[in-house]
């Protein structure tokens, strides 16, 4: 049976993991490769590396980092952050990334979704959406790391992106991100029930029960989290055992 995926996310700046990590067993907690290897060993199903490096010059370090990750990690991984052109994608895939994630650049120029899907295959094109539920009760798309609101409904943008060739949706709820109060179940379930591609839920996972909820009520295919894994508030083996015990199909 196809299993639900647990995906740790590592934020990378200038080739180092940021957002603080708290692993005493690591020699260097800022080394994304060492952290990624540990997660892979613990049973993470995939990994996401999000590059938040500010300057273009330092982005070159990303492809070098991706190459090192690909040599070390034996599970699939996605790379995102600042990807705009076919050349950007080609370099990352050539260096061993399995998928790339695009967000604001795809909103500004949706044709890149189509060209990436045509040239590299839909299976490697992940569309990331930052979304927020406004006072009117509707979910809107936000850009630039959540700093810029649009008037576009998340359901509409997600459908358009899938029609253009996006192979997966990484949905982050800004209302839930950082709260540790659980994932956004309603919008996740809406997208998962109406779109033919897998939905990765992100934002709000604070304890094992939240993951159970997002895989059942939220109908998510995968769930992503960062700090709860980095700070060891929740260990991946414990989380997966919990979900397995509750009857969720999980890779142990």
């Amino acid at each position: 049976m196809l299993t639900k995926r647990i995906i740790p996310c590592l934020d990378i700046k200038d080739g180092r993991t940021v957002k603080g990590v708290n692993f005493t067993e690591l020699r260097d907690a800022g080394d994304p490769i060492e952290l990624a290897a540990l997660y892979a060993l613990q049973g993470a199903d995939e990994l996401v590396f999000l590059d938040i490096t500010a300057t273009v010059e330092k982005r070159k370090t990303l492809s070098e980092l991706v190459n090192k990750i690909a040599h070390k990690i034996n599970i699939p991984f996605t790379v995102g952050g600042g990807i705009k052109t076919e050349e950007d994608v080609s370099v990352l895939l050539q260096n061993g990334a399995d998928k790339i994630s695009i967000n604001t650049a795809a909103y500004i120029d949706p044709t890149i979704i189509k060209s990436f899907a045509k040239n590299f295959g839909s299976q490697c094109v992940v569309l990331a959406i930052d979304t927020k539920c406004e006072a009117d009760g509707k979910w809107y798309v936000y850009l630039n790391g959540g700093r810029q609101k649009t008037d576009t409904l998340t359901t509409e943008w997600a459908k358009k992106a899938v029609d253009l060739g996006a192979g997966e949706i990484l949905l982050t709820s800004m209302n839930h991100d950082g709260t540790k109060q659980g994932f956004a179940l309603d919008i996740t379930a809406t997208l998962s029930s109406t779109l033919p591609v897998p939905i990765i839920a992100s934002g709000g996972g604070g304890e094992s029960a939240h993951f159970y909820d997002v895989f059942t009520t939220g109908k998510a295919d995968a769930a992503l989290a960062a700090s709860i894994f980095h700070y060891k508030e929740l260990a991946i083996p414990d989380l997966k055992q919990y979900l397995n015990n509750k009857g969720i199909p999980i890779r142990l």
């Binding site: 070390k72 591609v197 897998p198």
Partner: protein, 196 residues
């Protein structure tokens, strides 16, 4: 040990090379017929679309060359599908090494996503390719088309229906999943192939 990875217009070729390097082996990535023919082991990877890939192989006579190889050959994902007789993906006539047909996943259940993407179990394992690989081990799959069950099936997986997770005929092996991305299980399968 001289292992060759066939280079053609399909993705994930580097990933296969890196996977070999992770387990202390190496390989040459090439489309040179002489190097392919003289290799001890040949890996035929692939992510992409069937008709485009077949056209590319035919233009370089690699279709005939692959079919006539005598050493162990491992097709991965699209590579395995291309070793079958026919694919429904753009109605493509393939290499015909395996009799099994490649068909499109179809379902009316909206929560069953197509392509299948993620970890699923492999069972009814019967080949040296699976030495030391327990029944119901997890492997990583990404595919919208599948090979039917048949006499060459050496592993099965369930998604929408039961299909061939792996095929074997004589020196030809094929796996639908990605051993290069299937953690320790995948590494064992690659080691087993190299040890054939």
């Amino acid at each position: 040990m001289n292992t060759v990875i066939i280079q053609y217009n399909a993705g994930n070729i580097q990933s296969v090379l890196y996977a070999l390097e992770r387990i202390g082996m190496t390989a040459v990535v090439t489309d040179d017929p002489t190097l392919i023919q003289s290799a001890d082991k040949v890996i035929f990877p692939g992510v992409g679309e069937a008709s485009t890939a077949m056209q590319y192989l035919k233009e370089r006579n690699l279709d005939v060359l692959i079919s006539e190889l005598k050493q162990p050959v491992l097709g991965i994902c699209l590579g395995m599908q291309l070793m079958c007789r026919h694919s429904e993906e753009n109605n493509t006539h393939c290499l015909g090494i395996f009799d099994e047909q490649v068909q499109k996943f179809t379902t009316s259940i909206p929560t069953l996503k197509i392509p299948q993407m993620g970890w699923n179990t492999i069972c009814d394992l019967k080949s040296d390719l699976f030495t030391s690989v327990p029944e119901n081990s997890f492997a990583y799959f990404v595919h919208g088309y599948y090979a039917t069950l048949g006499k060459h099936t050496i592993a099965k997986t369930d998604y929408i229906q039961t299909y061939s997770a792996a095929l074997q005929k004589d020196n030809f092996y094929g796996v639908q999943f990605h051993p290069e991305k299937s953690a320790l299980v995948g590494e064992q399968i690659i080691k087993n192939f190299i040890a054939l």
